[in-house]
Symmetry: C2
Subunit: 238 residues, 2 copies
């Protein structure tokens, strides 16, 4: 397991640093110019949190042990809390939460469908990996929001799901059944594509395709580096 | 609809008042002598709240509209909060929550299975009706717990799920499709048997069968009167 951790860690350093230094001299790339309106941002993020809550609740209901149920119920509760807080931000601005979420419902449902996994273990990996990736992404995207409301939204999304015990559930399962690790590693790779797609769907893109891609690419390189770290935490090869 | 309300209300007064005055002179019957240990009480109640949370989350996931999803996510969150608070009470007394819940897991799972309903509407009715009944029951049962911990547990269970909007969802559905009301009324009646069974399973019964039944019966008569009021709120004949 130790060896494995090291191997995964070495991998990520390479793709992470190279494009960053080649393409942008600044230490931190951002998506400010591609940021949607506050209403769209909050609506999309709120609906995603609701979908994490739903997937985590489903994982709670089918958990094989009471210990696991307790862990997942707590994590589900935190996703719901993030959802609620984002909804409150919408209400503060006298925006109708349902109207703000509606445009993203179909996309999020489809994302939820393809990422929920074929068994409990895949669902756990999915919750940890996709929620982590998308929270990272929305925090980054939120840099383009102006004012206090934007800062509050970012602070909400930055709240950790405190999924340490969820990670332990996966580590234990993989420890008890090493063959599970290759299946879950594969599953983690499959998740990346769909997660990037839904993240991209939150960007406001214009017609200047090449400039935009040049801006987006290094951000995604960093997000994928964080994804690799998350897979690493789960004891899985990214 | 107004007529209907009146009819249902008339019904409940009769069985509620008669046995009370016949069998016990005091205004309030209680189950003090049949109360389990605090650990068993908290474990059973906590696991039931977790099962309400799971059923409400499932209803959230399959809700036909975003408005309904929002309502159910909130109610699910409140059931989870009650669960968490009861778990904290166990932890305060240095009791292991999982060990305290374990003896009730099989019974609660079976209860959950038979009461979750065959469609979304039945699930809604079930959540409102069974959680209401069992909260009432555990509040009553908690009168037999001594000390501050008992009072705190009762205060937690007394917390309303604030399911007013859930009730509106059922009223709207029945209003839009009156044929639904006879099916849901029937479903509500079926729920009573299983709900009473799981409530009874929380009582510590001895060998003095007749005395115990005489003590239990008026309590259940009152609980059923409250159940009838709940069905009434849903616009359904009890």
């Amino acid at each position: 397991m130790v060896n494995w951790f090291r191997r995964a860690r070495e991998r990520i350093e390479v793709p992470r640093l190279t494009p960053r230094s080649e393409q942008r001299p600044t230490a931190r790339v951002d998506l400010a110019e591609l940021t949607p309106s506050l209403s769209a941002y909050l609506g999309h993020a709120a609906y995603l949190q609701l979908s994490f809550f739903e997937t985590l609740s489903r994982a709670t209901a089918i958990a094989p042990t009471l210990e696991a149920k307790e862990v997942l119920a707590r994590v589900a509760g935190r996703a719901l809390e993030k959802h609620r807080k984002l909804v409150i931000e919408l209400e503060r601005r006298e925006l109708d939460p349902v109207q703000a979420m509606e445009p993203f419902a179909a996309g999020v449902h489809e994302f939820q469908r393809v990422t929920r996994g074929n068994d409990w273990y895949e669902t756990l990996v999915s919750c940890y990996v996709t929620a982590g990736f998308l929270d990272d992404f929305f925090v980054r995207l939120g840099a383009g929001l102006s004012g206090e409301a934007g800062a509050r939204a970012v602070a909400i999304l930055r709240q950790d799901l405190e999924a340490k015990e969820l990670v332990d559930l996966v580590l234990d399962a993989v420890g008890a059944n090493p063959r599970l690790s290759s299946r879950l590693a594969m599953w983690g790779r499959r998740l990346v594509g769909d997660t990037m797609l839904i993240a991209r769907s939150a960007l406001v893109l214009g017609s200047d395709h090449d400039t935009e891609e040049a801006r987006i690419e290094p951000v995604f390189t960093e997000l994928i580096a964080s994804h690799t770290r998350r897979m690493d935490n789960l004891g899985l090869t990214a």
